[in-house]
């Protein structure tokens, strides 16, 4: 089977500098993620997971190195170009859900589409939003406000929001961190199901139980990639 490289990182370095201190968050990371892959990144606190995820999600720029996403070089893009690429290629799921309290479920999920240029028609937005809400089994709650939902439900809404723009890759940051085990399991099952349907997922977690569910596990320590384990049949 022919595979497509979705993410290609070469020698990625991230250094945080203050007047007195230089912190090397990432040291020469090389990473490739193929389309349809389910990758987990784990490591202890402060190892560089969040920095790597921020660069992967075009939320931050590397100090050095090159980054190509879905065939497009994202190493030296401006703020707005990165925003456009992020909107088109990347879906985010955060540990704290990051839903906007003032907006109802429908509007929260519709946000990525409303930032798209050209903006899809209202009918298209409605169709796509309701479709992903159905996928995560939350269509019946589309008029609710986030604070009217449980943690597990909120995370499912966040996943729906990550998927609505049909991204090339879903970046998931500690998706179960704020959930109890029952809701955590439900969310992880949903992610596995999405991956099985072809969604590329890159997940940051320090929970080995969930890390094992990914097709490939990457371990970070002191900003360096230590090992990569590929599980046969995951792709």
């Amino acid at each position: 089977m022919q595979t497509t490289t979705m993410i290609e990182m070469r020698n990625i370095t991230k250094i945080f500098r203050t007047e007195e201190l230089e912190t090397h968050a990432l040291r020469g990371i090389d990473l490739e993620i193929e389309a349809g892959e389910y990758v987990s990144i784990s490591g202890p606190s402060g190892c560089g997971k969040s920095s790597l995820l921020a660069i992967l999600g075009l939320l931050d720029s590397p100090t050095e190195g090159s980054y190509v996403i879905d065939g497009r070089d994202a190493s030296n893009l401006g703020v707005n170009a990165r925003a456009v690429l992020r909107n088109e290629k990347i879906g985010f799921v955060f540990q704290a859900f990051n839903l906007i309290d003032e907006l109802n479920v429908f509007d929260n999920v519709a946000l990525p589409l409303r930032y798209r240029t050209p903006t899809p028609s209202a009918k298209d937005i409605e169709r796509k939003v309701m479709s992903v809400l159905t996928d995560v089994d939350m269509a019946h709650r589309h008029k609710h406000k986030p604070n009217q939902l449980s943690g597990g439900q909120q995370q499912r809404i966040a996943i729906a929001r990550g998927l609505v723009g049909n991204p090339s890759i879903l970046l998931v940051d500690e998706p179960t961190g704020n959930l109890d085990s029952k809701n955590g399991d439900m969310v992880m099952d949903l992610l596995a199901q999405l991956n099985a349907q072809g969604t590329t997922i890159c997940m940051v977690t320090h929970d080995p139980r969930y890390g094992d569910m990914a097709g490939r596990q990457l371990h970070l320590l002191d900003g360096q990639m230590l090992e990569a384990v590929a599980f046969a049949g995951a792709v």
């Binding site: 969040s50 921020a54 999600g57 939320l59 931050d60 703020v79 707005n80 925003a83 456009v84 992020r86 909107n87 088109e88 990347i90 985010f92 955060f94 990051n98 839903l99 906007i100 946000l111 990525p112 930032y115 798209r116 929001r161 723009g165």
Partner: protein, 806 residues
């Protein structure tokens, strides 16, 4: 409040010098303005005039009533005044007064000082207290001709060094030697009407000639009566009885020409307080409204600072709560801080107010009465204290509203991420709305004042004022006999001849006054006695238009024959002509003034604009043939340079006995006239800038705080691919809602106030509505920048930092 609270508050504030300085400067400067204007209102509205039974003291003046209407009040006639002094029975005590300038010849510079010629009753009515000597008494009454003088306290101090042996000393004022019989006390404040006074002289020395004393048609603003009304007589009754009394004599003296005007002589009684204050009360109230708005703007900024301070102090408060502090203890802690700051600001405010008093006296003496009574008196100090405590309570209440006592424990338990206390969106929006609304009203007033002042400053005069010199010689002004007229004509001709012989002089002419001085005016009517209104007049000779440089548009200028024969002809400005006939076709038309002799219009000249005149008569000039009622010359120089001493010498060579009262370039006169408008423009600009800065700083603070609070939300939007312009739109939409609401409130308030004050307020207030065209864009631009800078800061930060709450 406990001593302990104050100690902690002081220690805490010592660590925040920036916060303390910002609050103190913002509040101190604003409180200074508020306190000083409050005191102005106290003086004008609460303090009675410093005279016995002030509500029974009235000024009398005269006017003429005809079937077409009445003439302006504020003027008196000499025979009417004397007649009422001799025969009136409605006042317990009645005095007559005439204000004039006299030369104080005992000093080298021979300065002109202001003298009030009056009768002994004046001092009794006003209850004048004396530092030395006595007031006038029966021996100085009318027709006694005793040359005595009473000095004002300030004149005695400044001109005579406060000499204790001044009594019975002789001083020369004009041609007369007067014996000093008294010095008024420091506390005695003579009424501002008819003007400021240096010395009081007996009425007999007024210097009016017999012709003037018998002329019922010659009205003057500087003479008037002052009386204390009898308890049994009402104001209306007194006015009717005096009018009846004087009209009888007036009608008996009328010439046939004047009789055709069908006029009645009337006496107007005006309470002294009303005359002295004019519309000062209303102006003071408006000014108080303006500074109060400034206080609101400043307060909303300080509220914002206090709320941020409360948010900053939440951990300290949480520890205090954990150690057993009750909610009221926390309020006390916050109140202690705000009280200390408000007290310090009020003390600064009192200093600023003392300085503001001087500023008000310097800049606003033309607008307000009784300014010398401004002081930090008991009511003002009480007001300052009350304001200080109120503000402290308001600031701490706002701050304490942010603190939810039950949630304080979270501050100690949580890591701190995302658990910060927040000023609610409603409060933030309310702060911005209030600031914009109040600033909008304030700016409208300031812009209106600026507009009005700039229109006066930038108004072209309509003639070349450069190298034009106005020279006034010492001579009694007003009606004189034909002998004196002939005598003056001869001297003036000699002066003119001598001046024209000077190589520096191009030409010279005679006129009653300089072209830009606001001199006399008269009311003209047509043959059927229908009035055209008031026209400023100047008596000028045949060379005047050539010397001044006024273009003749139609008809002719005066000839030397017109001047010599004192022909009843008039030359009108274009505006004056159009006021009489919309097309300005008035050549040959006869117009009538109070004299009963019609004047024929023989020429129309181009307008000149005289700054300082009311807008509607600014260019409505009427020129009459020159009669030397005074001795004034206009000299056109060939080129610039200081030739004053040469002119002075030339005039002295012609007649060494006559002094030059004033020699001044018309340019300089113009500068003096517009100086007040320049100051007004400066004050209005300063107020505008201050209000915009305060509002801008306030909005910046709220917007910046709002952005910080929403940083997390913006981070989410950015993560989802929102571009900068989309975030900017999002931010602007939420920030501009309260701005637009504030603008709508201010526009409504200005329109409401305009209609409310429609009848009474100044012209400037009417301009406030049109100045909204400047106010709205100015505030929108300010709001734009107040929104832009926090937004720029937001964009500089990485969205991932927002999500991490870094």
């Amino acid at each position: 409040m406990k001593h302990h609270d104050l100690q902690i508050a002081i220690q805490s504030l010592r660590r925040r010098p920036g916060f303390v300085m910002t609050v103190m400067l913002t509040l101190g400067l604003t409180l200074g303005a508020v306190i000083s204007v409050f005191n102005l209102n106290v003086v004008l509205m609460m303090k009675p005039l410093p005279y016995p039974a002030p509500d029974r003291i009235f000024i009398t003046d005269h006017y003429y009533q005809s079937p077409q209407g009445r003439t302006d009040s504020g003027f008196s006639t000499l025979p009417g005044l004397l007649e009422s002094y001799r025969t009136q029975q409605v006042f317990q005590s009645y005095s007559i007064m005439s204000l004039d300038a006299v030369r104080f010849l005992d000093q080298k510079t021979e300065p002109k000082i202001s003298a009030l010629f009056t009768t002994p009753e004046y001092f009794e009515i006003l209850g004048t207290s004396m530092t030395l000597g006595r007031p006038f008494e029966a021996s100085e009454r009318l027709d006694t001709h005793h040359p005595v003088v009473i000095l004002s306290h300030s004149f005695w101090k400044t001109r005579l060094e406060g000499a204790r042996d001044v009594l019975n000393r002789s001083i020369q004022l004009g041609d007369v030697h007067y014996r000093v019989i008294g010095v008024t006390s420091k506390d005695f404040r003579a009424p501002d009407e008819p003007g400021e006074i240096d010395v009081w002289l007996p009425w007999d020395f007024h210097g009016f000639n017999a012709m003037q004393l018998e002329n019922w048609g010659n009205t003057k603003r500087t003479i008037m009566g002052l009386g204390r009304l009898s308890p049994a007589v009402s104001e209306r009754e007194a006015s009717d009885r005096l009018s009846h009394l004087l009209d009888r004599t007036y009608q008996s003296k009328l010439s046939p020409e004047l009789r055709r005007l069908d006029r009645q002589f009337k006496v107007n009684l005006v309470p002294l307080e009303t005359r002295m204050l004019g519309d000062s009360k209303q102006r003071a109230l408006l000014l108080f409204g303006a500074v109060f708005m400034l206080l609101l703007i400043a307060s909303s900024n300080v509220v914002n600072l206090f709320c941020s301070r409360a948010a900053e102090k939440q951990r300290t408060l949480a520890i205090q709560a954990a150690l057993g502090a009750k909610p009221v203890d926390l309020f006390r802690a916050l109140f202690a801080e705000s009280l200390i700051l408000c007290i310090a600001s009020s003390l600064l405010g009192l200093l600023v107010a003392a300085w503001c008093f001087e500023l008000i006296r310097m800049l606003a003496s033309a607008h307000f009465a009784r300014l010398d009574e401004l002081s930090l008196d008991i009511p003002t100090l009480c007001f300052s204290m009350a304001l200080c405590v109120t503000l402290a309570a308001v600031f701490s209440l706002f701050a304490v509203k942010l603190i939810r006592y039950e949630d304080l424990r979270i501050q100690l338990q949580a890591s701190g991420k995302g658990s910060g206390m927040q000023i609610s969106k409603f409060t933030r929006n309310a702060l911005v709305t209030c600031q914009v609304a109040v600033t909008g009203v304030l700016l409208s007033g300031a812009f209106a004042l600026l507009q009005q002042s700039l229109s006066v400053i930038s108004q072209p005069l309509g003639f070349e004022s450069h190298n034009l010199v106005s020279v006034r010689l010492d001579a009694k002004e007003g009606m004189i006999g034909s002998d004196e007229i002939d005598h003056r004509r001869r001297i003036m001709a000699d002066y003119a001849q001598a001046l024209r012989a000077m190589p520096q002089v191009a030409q010279c002419s005679f006129s009653f006054t300089s072209p830009i001085r606001t001199g006399m005016s008269t009311r003209y009517s047509d043959v059927d006695n229908r009035e055209y209104g008031d026209f400023p007049i100047n008596f000028v000779d045949q060379r005047y238009h050539e010397v001044v440089g006024i273009e003749l548009l139609r008809g002719q200028w005066f000839t030397s024959d017109h001047i010599r024969n004192d022909d009843p002809v008039v030359v009108l400005s274009e505006s004056a002509a159009k006021h009489i006939e919309p097309e300005g076709r008035v050549l040959g038309t006869l117009i009538y003034d109070g004299s009963g002799v019609p004047k024929k219009v023989i020429g129309i000249v181009k307008d000149i604009a005289v700054p300082g005149r009311a807008e509607e008569i600014r260019s409505r000039d009427a020129y009459l043939t020159y009669v030397p009622w005074n001795m004034h010359l206009l000299i056109r120089l060939k080129q610039g340079g200081n030739t004053n001493h040469l002119i002075r010498q030339t005039l002295a060579d012609v007649d060494p006995s006559r002094r030059v009262a004033e020699i001044v370039h018309v340019d300089e006169q113009h500068r003096r006239i517009i100086a007040r408008d320049q100051v007004n423009a400066g004050v209005a600009s300063g107020l505008t800038l201050l209000a915009l800065l305060l509002a801008g700083a306030g909005m910046f603070g709220v917007f910046h705080y709002g952005n910080l609070m929403r940083r997390f939300e913006f981070g989410v939007h950015m993560c989802l691919g929102a571009q900068t312009h989309q975030i900017a739109k999002l931010v602007a939409r939420s920030h501009f809602q309260p701005v637009l609401l504030g603008l709508a409130i201010s526009v409504t308030a200005v329109l409401f106030l305009r209609s409310w004050f429609d009848q009474a307020a100044d012209a400037w207030f009417h301009q406030t509505a049109s100045s909204l065209f400047m106010t709205v864009p100015a505030l929108l631009i300010t709001a734009f920048f107040a929104n832009y800078f926090p937004l720029r800061k937001l964009f500089k930060s990485n969205p991932v930092q927002a999500l991490r709450n870094e």
